[in-house]
């Protein structure tokens, strides 16, 4: 476990960790944002006809929380991180050193991945207790979490490729922040939508992750369905990763 790559990852993780603690308001966001979003979502979903679609509130909340945290806690932070480091020429400077390109990106993101995973695990545990539900397909949940993290990181790199400045991050992340949760069953379960639409939206980027997470607690997916969703999420991740590899810019535009 002490290859140069491991050592580089550890170092970059530690640096982001140090920086994270330097800004005290980060603590508030890490705790407060998920809590607030959960309460808001809870009241919205109370209005939805869940029972007639046979959807359990607890597992639904787990998948919603996962989606929200992946987008807000991971995706938008990592996009901002990449753009900020690029504008300060830190990425370019790192590329003059021994760290490989993918490790530069993964190393910086790893701290935010750790935070996001912790948030999701804690929230899922709290919800499980609150609703008296236990995971029935831990593997599906794990697949959901892993694909979600990979997908959001790849999407962050692609978004960063489109941003010119730190200021434009806000605009560039808007589609993912507003549209993605709408079409991926994060806020409103796909079952509640008209049948054809709901089924078509299985192919939206984050839908598979959401399905997998919920099935982690309900056990509703069959093995082939689980595999299909894992494959779909992996395909999306590969698409974004490929785009990022081709389009990523390591230095600011002049």
């Amino acid at each position: 476990m002490n290859s140069p790559t491991t050592q580089h990852m550890k170092t970059l993780f530690r640096i982001e960790w140090t920086l994270f603690h330097r800004i005290k308001s980060n603590y508030v966001f890490v705790v407060l944002v998920p809590a607030m979003l959960l309460f808001t979502m809870r009241s919205v979903q109370k209005q939805l006809p869940l029972r007639e679609h046979g959807i359990e509130a607890g597992p639904l909340m787990v998948s919603t929380a996962t989606g929200v945290l992946l987008i807000f806690s991971l995706y938008s932070s990592v996009t901002g991180l990449y753009v900020a480091r690029r504008e300060e020429l830190v990425l370019k400077r790192l590329r003059t050193g021994e760290v490989a390109d993918p490790v530069i990106l993964a190393g910086g993101a790893s701290m935010y991945v750790a935070i996001c995973v912790t948030q999701i695990v804690v929230v899922a545990a709290v919800l499980s207790v609150m609703f008296g539900v236990m995971p029935r397909q831990p593997l599906a949940a794990a697949a959901g979490l892993l694909t979600g993290i990979a997908l959001m990181t790849a999407m962050a790199a692609t978004t960063a490729a489109l941003c010119r400045t730190v200021e434009s991050v806000l605009v560039a992340t808007l589609p993912a922040i507003f549209v993605l949760p709408m079409i991926s069953g994060v806020y409103i379960p796909r079952e509640v939508l008209p049948d054809a639409l709901g089924e078509a939206l299985l192919f939206a980027p984050l839908s598979s992750t959401i399905d997998l997470m919920r099935s982690g607690w309900t056990g509703e997916l069959t093995a082939p369905e689980t595999l299909t969703r894992t494959a779909l999420a992996t395909a999306w991740t590969a698409l974004f990763a490929w785009t990022a590899t081709r389009r990523f810019r390591w230095e600011p535009r002049t």
Partner: protein, 313 residues
């Protein structure tokens, strides 16, 4: 010289910015070779193409045309993993996380570098021990350049790229940095340095190239480069004589009783002049003969305003 026994080699390299109709060739067919242990300076005004050239050798950008090699045979982009443990680089500017302290910054690079020297030692070498706990954004421009150099040399690299290492430094800082660079030279480090300070190139470089508008306008050692430019004879002439009486081939100018002869044949004209003075019993007051300076050579290729410009883009 062949690429094989060199440390840095550029062969007719071109660098093109932009695509389609809006392209700009910042580097147009540059070739040079740096032997092991040599310090090669790329001297040029802002926009000459120095940074664009160095970035191709650092492997940060691929040439549009032509080839670059490090350590004889390695391609800076394709062989990046093999090259990096042996090189160090200092970008023209930036590259720091502004909310880290100097010490944390060196610590971070120590974690990313094979066989780094101790962090405290690196800070000490850069003269930044007393600034270790200061955040990078609060360091002065000169301190940041020194921190950058400390990072670039963290692992005793064989090849070092320094893009304007003393830009924005005060005289003291500049001399301290030159001292560090001379130490590295003494240890046999191969260095490619860019600068727009003539004095820096003149005092550090074994070989240098004057870059202008993407091309190398002149190259060689300082004496090589100035050799092609006219030398100057100057002296005071007693009142009864005028410049027209002098038996010299070069151009003669007279101002405030002092005569300046600009000549491509310093030795011949000096001999003629002294012989004439001897036979006419003329005392040439404060007679001096000097070859062209690097500054004159530089102005000749880069233009007068180009030679004067200091800071900028």
């Amino acid at each position: 010289m062949a690429a094989e026994n060199s440390h840095i080699h550029a062969q007719d390299v071109w660098r093109r910015y932009g695509t389609g109709k809006k392209t700009f060739d910042a580097v147009r067919g540059v070739s040079f070779t740096v032997r092991p242990g040599e310090l090669f300076a790329l001297l040029g005004t802002n926009g000459a193409g120095k940074t664009s050239t160095v970035e191709m050798l650092e492997g940060l950008a691929a040439p549009h045309r032509g080839g670059v090699r490090l350590f004889g045979t390695l391609d800076p982009v394709a062989d990046r993993a093999r090259i990096r443990p042996r090189t160090g680089a200092m970008l023209q500017e930036g590259g720091f996380i502004s909310h880290l302290t100097a010490q944390e910054t060196v610590g971070m690079w120590a974690g990313l570098t094979t066989r780094p020297r101790p962090v405290a030692q690196a800070l000490d070498r850069a003269g930044l021990s007393h600034r270790a706990a200061v955040m990078v954004r609060n360091l002065s421009g000169g301190e940041r350049r020194r921190l950058d150099l400390a990072i670039a040399t963290l692992s005793h690299p064989d090849v070092l790229f320094l893009d304007e290492p003393t830009a924005g430094m005060d005289v003291e800082g500049r001399h301290a940095t030159w001292q560090l660079i001379r130490e590295l030279q003494g240890r046999g480090t191969t260095i490619l340095l860019t600068t727009h300070y003539l004095e820096e190139a003149e005092s550090l470089a074994d070989q240098l190239a004057i870059m202008h508008r993407g091309r190398i306008a002149a190259s060689g050692s300082v004496p090589d480069i100035v050799a092609g430019h006219p030398s100057t004879l100057s002296f005071g002439l007693p009142e009864q004589w005028t410049a027209g009486d002098l038996p010299v081939g070069g151009t003669v100018a007279e101002r405030d009783g002092r005569v300046t002869v600009t000549t491509g044949e310093l030795q011949k004209d000096a001999a003629r002049l002294l012989a004439w003075a001897e036979s006419h019993d003329v005392a040439l007051a404060r007679f001096t003969a000097r070859p062209a300076s690097l500054e004159e050579a530089f102005i000749a290729v880069a233009g007068r305003d180009g030679g004067r410009r200091e800071e900028g883009a």
